[in-house]
Subunit: 306 residues, 2 copies
């Protein structure tokens, strides 16, 4: 644990492997690190495959380093069984930072972890936070609701689209308008980028006046264009969070939801044991003598009453 | 309820809307219908967008009707925020069956339902089962783990790929090899179809001898080619399930897991209330006096001890 607090990359990497595997001793480690967390600024980065999230993450790392901020990138691997692929190639682009002690890059799968990505991600983030990184970029590579939820569970959520990706209506349909604190139209050197920015801005003007007007930033991350503007925009969001009290409130709310999910995982294994050890109940179910709702109500009672 | 048991399409549609919304009275309705379930054969249909799942579903409906079997198609809407789109257009292709009382087609979203798709789907399936349909095809339109899980929670799971979709290695990576009872290479009139079939067959030969050798069927659903072979193959899987006792065992196991999930949802709302009503615990968490694991253990104890 001491070595994690000192920021030793190997110890940090080992701890994140423990999170991936749901290893024994994780709860103890996590409890030890917890008092040393809460300092890092977390940025979520999400968007459809092919919009250039990884290139953008690399560009943001450069922007952070140029300002003397240490930074970690946590790339959550897809769990979607129909995606996957270019992850390794994307990571290679990051190798320019391989010798910089102020940068830590890690992709993470979540196979062994109870509760999956939603519980593994905040734990991994706390490890990086405790290791002293100023900024933690959480890049989700998949496209499902779970990936979006993870990216949204950060201080500042950046949603990335590309001109070829689809029109603004698609974004509205997709329900990701709500989670974006900053929109990025990446690959802005391509045709249709200006239109995409205008469409998004118009859509964002619909609805009631929000406390924070979501900005749309055009970038061409591969060339570095617009990345400084994105960084400054994201920082202004963090400042708006802080000054309005929303930063603390949001973090508190996320902690409570995480504890809720951890509690549920604890109860789940207990309920499963009861069910598997009760052939009578299973028989009543398969013989249609008791319906699933009533069976669940009975088990719920048993969980509460002891 | 009587009208559902008689197979009245409007009553069935209304009941499925109740499932979508998580409406009051659902538990009661579900309990009433439960004794009348367990007769239908359920087929899951999953695969990446664009492989032709809906066209295949329509072709399977024709195959079922040609054999005098009544059939329902339940198309689970994507919850993936980055997909969506052509659903309505796909449904239109099914309109040829609109006047056939032996066919019921319905797409279902799951916004209001606690526990989401995983709990809504088996309920909707039971409604269709109780309404007297012989065959229920569950088509999942999205691409996430949740969609795959829903399609896998059927008697016979059909995984659809298309020649342009990717190579066999992609399928292995994706982890869907395990859930397939039957593989379909659809759009088999396209280049690369033979190769896709060979690749899949070769991959399926790896590993230990299974109880059921997963067949690969080539179809061109839009032209009806191969659909009869697919139907016969799927039926032979059902017979293999039945004669080996795996049909009953699988259904029993799925019922138990569903009751587990229902129980968890019941406990979740209780845990949430405790958390939200306990400002002390929230304060201890945000002030880092208690870590999430210990907070969860305390709440778990409280849930059990009452």
């Amino acid at each position: 644990m001491e070595r994690i607090l000192e920021g030793d990359p190997r110890s940090v990497a080992r701890a994140i492997s423990m999170v991936e595997d749901g290893a024994d001793g994780l709860a103890e480690l996590s409890a030890g690190l917890f008092p040393h967390t809460g300092r890092a600024w977390t940025i979520g980065l999400t968007g459809a495959p092919g919009v250039g999230k990884s290139t953008l993450a690399a560009a943001l790392v450069r922007a952070a380093r140029a300002r003397g901020r240490s930074v970690a990138v946590l790339a959550i691997d897809p769990t979607s069984p129909f995606t996957g692929g270019a992850l390794l190639g994307d990571r290679v682009r990051m190798q320019v930072h391989a010798t910089d002690p102020g940068v830590f890059i890690r992709s993470m799968a979540t196979r062994g972890h109870l509760g999956g990505m939603a519980l593994a991600a905040p734990e991994a983030i706390r490890i990086l936070d405790a290791s002293g990184k100023d900024v933690i970029i959480v890049e989700t590579v998949g496209v499902g609701q779970a990936e979006v939820d993870v990216a949204a569970a950060t201080d500042t959520t950046v949603v990335v689209v590309a001109p070829g990706w689809g029109d603004a209506v698609q974004v509205a349909k997709a329900g990701i308008l709500e989670i974006a604190d900053v929109f990025v139209v990446n690959k802005a050197d391509r045709e249709g980028a200006d239109q995409a920015v205008r469409d998004l801005e118009q859509m964002l003007r619909l609805g009631p006046e929000p406390w924070w007007r979501v900005p749309v930033v055009a970038t061409a991350a591969a060339e570095g264009t617009g990345v400084d503007e994105l960084w400054v925009t994201a920082e202004s969001h963090r400042e708006a969070l802080r000054s309005s009290g929303r930063l603390e409130r949001g973090r508190r709310e996320r902690l409570l939801r995480e504890v809720e999910a951890l509690t549920i995982e604890e109860l789940r294994s207990r309920v499963r044991r009861w069910l598997d050890d009760d052939p009578g109940l299973a028989g009543d179910l398969t013989d249609r003598r008791i319906d699933p709702y009533r069976a669940a109500a009975l088990l719920g009672e048993r969980a509460i009453r002891g």
